[in-house]
């Protein structure tokens, strides 16, 4: 009797493994960004690495500080490109998009696989019924060398969403509601396995939003069952066994769930949006690997159509990928948003991690569709960052205060 995690790790360990055991598993795909790849390359070389175990399975993405804001970072990007050419590694360059969006969009991860990324939000691919987790640069370098990683098989928390989904309640609200229960470390070393009819009906984009934030509860992975997942290729689903062992079962009845918002300075400082209504904002941001996809831009455009962002508010939008941007242009969404006053940034992480592009000023308040609001996260420790769904961000941008109308 196994959980989804135990099953996927077993197929890659060559034997049945259960929570708590140490296993060395085969890895199907790896990724590093411009924050982590340069160190990974250095570590790979320090390990005596000459040739990648399988360059086809490796992807580099220049997204975190992209395009380069200064010569130091420009040279890091160049270092990555040179190594990628030498090793024949796939590299998505400036403006192609956020690593996690690209890995899913380009089918570089598939159900049932083990994917290791040198970025904490690699857990996003659990949306695809895969086991995906984030590591640091050295662990990634070790996979570049050996094609394997050692993992302690995690315990699993079963999360069941029940009830009737209210109109206007979206994936971001569902995951913030869980974050409120579990807290910032409530799932450390564990997998979150998402169950229930509510989530079985969610689109892949919405599943990505939820799996993405598993790390915000300390989880190693956030995995969806295959139920309701539609993909354009043939794939083998991995179900949890009836009778699989869970360390904890959490049921969330969503029938009366309100829109959720995380107050500064932690993603688990979650409240009903009511509590924040009326808080003045100067900066609204739509983007990130959590909520920068086409569905999210549609949600925002529905609210901003033929309206204008409030005076004194800047609305910045960084589409999760160039493809998202192109689609938003083709269906008129981008135009609606720009006419409402939004400014588009190149596809990529944008201001999410505070490296460049749209750093808030001292004493300013930001409302963002992202996943993290630790002090200083967006580049200035003297700014306040709230996290919510794209529609709450859009409504707030219209009013100049946090709003749900």
């Amino acid at each position: 009797m196994q959980t989804i995690t135990e099953k996927i790790l077993s197929t890659h360990a060559g034997k049945k493994v259960y929570a708590g055991e140490l296993s060395v598993v085969r890895v199907d795909g790896i990724m590093a960004s411009d924050t982590t790849a340069p160190y990974a390359i250095k570590a790979f070389e320090a390990m005596g690495g000459v040739k990648l175990w399988d360059s086809e399975k490796c992807t580099f993405v220049i997204d975190h500080a992209s395009p380069a804001p200064n010569e130091r970072i420009a040279n890091l990007h160049k270092f990555m490109r040179d190594f990628a050419v030498e090793q024949n590694i796939r590299l998505f360059d400036v403006g192609e998009g956020i690593c996690h969006q690209l890995i899913v969009e380009r089918d570089l991860v598939r159900p049932g696989q083990i994917f290791i990324g040198a970025d904490s939000h690699t857990c996003t691919y659990g949306s695809l019924n895969a086991f995906a987790t984030g590591v640091g640069s050295s662990d990634l370098a070790a996979v570049m060398l050996t094609g394997k990683i050692w993992l302690k098989v995690p315990e699993t928390i079963k999360v069941i969403y029940t009830g009737i989904l209210p109109k206007n309640i979206v994936a971001k609200d569902l995951i913030l509601a869980l974050e409120k229960i579990l807290g910032i470390d409530g799932a450390t070393y564990q997998t979150l396995e998402f169950h229930g009819e509510i989530v079985e009906k969610l689109s892949l984009a919405s599943r990505m939003t939820m799996a993405n934030m598993a790390i915000e509860m300390g989880a190693k992975a956030g995995i969806f069952t295959p139920i309701g997942l539609e993909l354009p290729y043939a794939w083998t689903p991995t179900f949890a066994d009836e009778g699989a062992k869970y360390i904890r079962i959490i049921e969330i009845d969503v029938t009366n769930l309100q829109s959720q918002i995380a107050f500064p300075n932690s993603p688990d400082n979650v409240h009903d949006v009511q509590k924040a209504l009326g808080t003045p904002i100067q900066y609204a941001f739509i983007g990130t690997c959590t909520n920068g996809r086409l569905d999210d831009l549609h949600e925002v455009a529905d609210i901003l159509k033929n309206k204008n962002v409030a005076t004194g508010v800047r609305l910045l939008i960084a589409p999760a990928s160039k493809q998202v941007f192109i689609d938003a242009m083709n269906d008129g969404t981008a135009q609606i948003l720009m006419q409402a006053g939004a400014t588009f940034l190149p596809s990529g992480c944008g201001p999410c991690v505070g490296s460049h592009l749209g750093v808030p000023g001292d004493g300013e308040t930001v409302i963002s569709s992202g996943n993290r609001n630790f002090k200083g996260r967006m580049g200035n420790p003297n700014a306040q960052v709230y996290l919510s769904s794209p529609s709450i961000v859009a409504k707030s941008a219209l009013k100049g205060v946090i709003s749900n109308e």
Binding site: Y39, S138, K148, G218, V353, S355, R372, R377, P381
Partner: protein, 159 residues
Amino acid sequence: MTFVYGDNIDTDRIIAGKYTKTLDMNSLAEHVLEDLDPNFKTQVKQGDFLVGGENFGCGSSREQAPIALKLAGISVVIASSFARIFFRNSINIGLPVLEIKNHDIQSGDKIEVDLTYGEVRNLTKNKSYFSSSMPEVMIDILNEGGLANYLKKYGDYQL
């Protein structure tokens, strides 16, 4: 000296994202913990200890966080619990980390660490704490001074 901080010290506070994009490792030490404790940089000396509460190192996967602490002079990080990626990263770069549940180490306490036994002695409070056990592979990696040396020596995981 022992630096003592609270719960949930995240990687953005250990080293902000804006400083992480560099291969000049020493520049990381320049900015380590700068918002949390502006005095850290001027006071820290080689061999000092850093003590945290629950969930130390939560947030990003940036290995720059433990590297910055190590290069600043920190020899061991002790915490009630660690975030998963930070814990792995620390071992991988050869920075010893000891998980000691419910410790009561306070600012100003004088401590000694014995890594072989995972023991922390609090001389001020006259008591000892022992760390939770680590997988053997992690001990081996730490004994080699980090994952790079380990793999250079063995070429593959030994377990």
